[in-house]
Symmetry: C2
Subunit: 427 residues, 2 copies
């Protein structure tokens, strides 16, 4: 079964907003064994939309359309669909009732603009929008199903998860596509490729495809295969990964099984802490609250996260984290001595089992000959010991912050697991 | 001049990574007056890539291709380009010298896999990659120019900014496309649409297109027009915006001129503080370090940002921020009294001119009948006064954190500007 994903909206073509809907839809379809063969984005323009519909009809069994269903005047998808399918638009009473109740709940009057949300092409299957007012539409032409949804991500996702994906699953017999991704930290893409070249060469005979997915500080290795026997697919991939692990174990921090929530380093660390009923506190200088925001983005993080201090100035490192003033004089704030004191003291200050401290030159300014932009010290601490490491990242502030966060989280992971393997960086 | 953007890579079609390259390229082209008519993503598959090339050749004058140039075996773009243009691949000595020096600088040996990066189709114009080893390629077929670049964003961006965009600009006479975006906070999309309906109806006769771009807590209104006289385009749009401002001034926090760095609320606030040589410190409970990470992502933020405390537990709110224990007993941590003390005390603790405090039920758990998920208190404080406001957001943890941050930053903006207009939320 082949699918195409079509996003409609000038905001995509002029680059004003990210196309997150296509990624999400692709992920969900892939998991079900529907192959996405093409993605396209076109303008809020009748001719362009109509052309895209007829192209997609040639290529795919399922066409997923997002965008252009809003109540505002720039949205023309619904009108264009009605014309393409040669259907008239009429008020759907169930949708109108839903739109009315949506507004009543919020204590607001229904305006004419909102009433028009209840217009749908006569004869289409209406898809209920529990998170908004614009209904989805399911229509069939020849052998291709067209599914139109709003562009607002959480409205689209609600419809897909509750109605559209279950409907596709129940109506079709689909093959299995199996992916598993190996998550590595502390080694760059090229160095990794050389290290695993011999292993990689043998994947082709096992019908496994390999992809390298680099992110700041992290490289993900995705293994993919397909077939009819899911157990066999899993076994083939797991064997290949077992072999890989013998080569690069010290860089591997986890695995991502497609369709399951991807295990970020912060999630892995949070789970380890939760299992051991332990807690973490942070002293973040160069990462400036970024690691705290990663932990606190996870629901229920208050179980393991005590809090953080972001001491962006030396006097605050001294006043709130008791870093000795002699440290700044003798070694500077970007030093082993400074992060060691920060990591130990934040633990004591917040009464946590573990502490993380970061201090570095994030850039683009602030570098010196001795400590160029990208120089970062990270320490992790528990009651038994404190480990500090120096990293040399690049020139980009945003990347440096992310790379520092990933390095710190992996150091903490190893400290919790009493894993003494080297955590320094290989590029 | 019409352009198409083509991304090559299974990782896009299976939804594993976000397609940020297309957004960035689209933005840059748009700014130059090149219209992006189509975006497409295809698999690392020879047939699919070849088909996409010939489709694009029909539609566009310029085809921007990213992805599939890496040193690893899953990357086949270069080979496919050579076949499509019927050219042989040969080592380019200048590229080889660059690749060698790239490795020498990093103290590493050149492997065979890296040497192959210097292969290019004979006769193509090579585009230097200052940030990596894979060269870009510029080729012409009939009337269409094909430009192939690596998928690594900062390598692609370096080539575009330094070489490709200047080359296109110098070789073509391009029309002007002018966009300006009005940034609003504190009002939802539908409420805004109703408020400005009469104004919006008059845009068509001025040849202005309007788009609503909602984000959590913020709605951006983009006005677009095109023509040959840039001054006149600017004047037309500015007049329309002047009229709009009389209707919704209290929601407007800034403007985005296309091609200039978009002014986020944190940037606007940082600039205001810098102008007045003043500083900010944060006490972030429900936002958990997110606002700190927004400030510290900005280069040079140490001028205005003193630091933050993320007191994720009441005892830390008490110990580090001196919140009275009676506050928790009488009002709870999600209360006006709590955020008021937090905002005032973080200011004193860090010696800053302004303070922000947040405390709320971010969700998905932790709600009560009296304080359901989404209930958030925000306070902003300076030496003259402290203002606290209650917000009622939704069920989504991530959105609640972002909406709280935007609300807090806009409250601070108004406090700095001594703007007393109402900052509560209208949905």
């Amino acid at each position: 079964m082949r699918a195409e994903i079509l996003t409609i909206g000038d905001e995509i073509l002029i680059g004003q907003i990210a196309n997150t809907n296509s990624i999400w839809i692709a992920r969900e379809l892939n998991l079900m064994g529907v192959k996405v063969v093409h993605m396209a984005s076109v303008s809020d323009d009748k001719t362009a939309i109509t052309k895209a519909f007829s192209d997609a009809e040639q290529r795919a069994d399922l066409v997923f359309i997002t965008g252009g269903l809003g109540p505002t005047k720039d949205d023309i998808t619904k009108k264009t669909i009605a014309e393409y399918f040669n259907l008239i638009l009429e008020i759907d009473e169930a949708v109108l009732a839903h739109v009315k109740s949506f507004f009543t709940k919020r204590g607001r009057e229904l305006s004419e603009i909102n009433r028009q949300q209840a217009l749908v092409p006569r004869g289409c299957t209406v898809i209920h929008n529990q998170n908004g007012t614009a209904p989805g539409m399911w229509l069939k032409k020849n052998n291709t199903v067209f599914i139109s949804m709003p562009g607002v991500p959480y409205e689209m996702k609600g419809m897909m998860s509750d109605i559209i994906l279950p409907k596709i699953k129940s109506e079709n017999k689909l093959p299995f596509i199996y992916h598993k991704t190996v998550l590595t930290q502390g080694i760059g893409e090229s160095a990794l490729a050389e290290l695993i070249e011999t292993w990689e060469d043998k994947l082709i005979e096992k019908n496994i495809k390999l992809a390298y997915l680099p992110q700041p500080g992290v490289v993900r290795l995705r293994l993919s295969t397909h077939g009819t026997d899911l157990n066999k697919l899993e076994e083939t991939v797991d064997n290949a990964i077992a072999h890989l692990t013998t080569i690069i174990s010290k860089y591997i921090y986890g695995f991502e099984i497609y369709g399951e929530e991807p295990p970020t380093l912060q999630k892995i660390v949070s789970e380890l802490l939760r299992e051991q009923k332990q807690s973490i506190a942070l002293a973040e200088s160069c990462t400036g609250g970024f690691i705290a925001s990663l932990f606190t983005a996870i629901a229920g993080s208050s179980d393991i996260f005590k809090g953080a201090i972001v001491p962006y100035h030396n006097n605050i490192k001294h006043d709130l984290l008791n870093v000795d003033n002699t440290v700044f004089e003798k070694y500077g704030a970007v030093s082993k001595e400074c992060v060691t004191q920060m990591a130990e003291n934040i633990r004591k200050k917040m009464g946590s089992d573990y502490g993380i401290a970061t201090s570095g030159v994030a850039g683009p300014a602030g570098g010196t000959a001795e400590k160029p932009v990208g120089t970062v010290w990270v320490a992790v601490s528990c009651s038994e010991k404190t480990i500090a490491l120096k990293f040399t990242f690049g020139d980009d502030r945003g990347r440096n912050i992310q790379m520092t966060a990933n390095a710190a989280l992996n150091m903490l992971r190893k400290l919790i697991l009493k894993d003494n393997s080297d955590s320094s960086l290989i590029l």
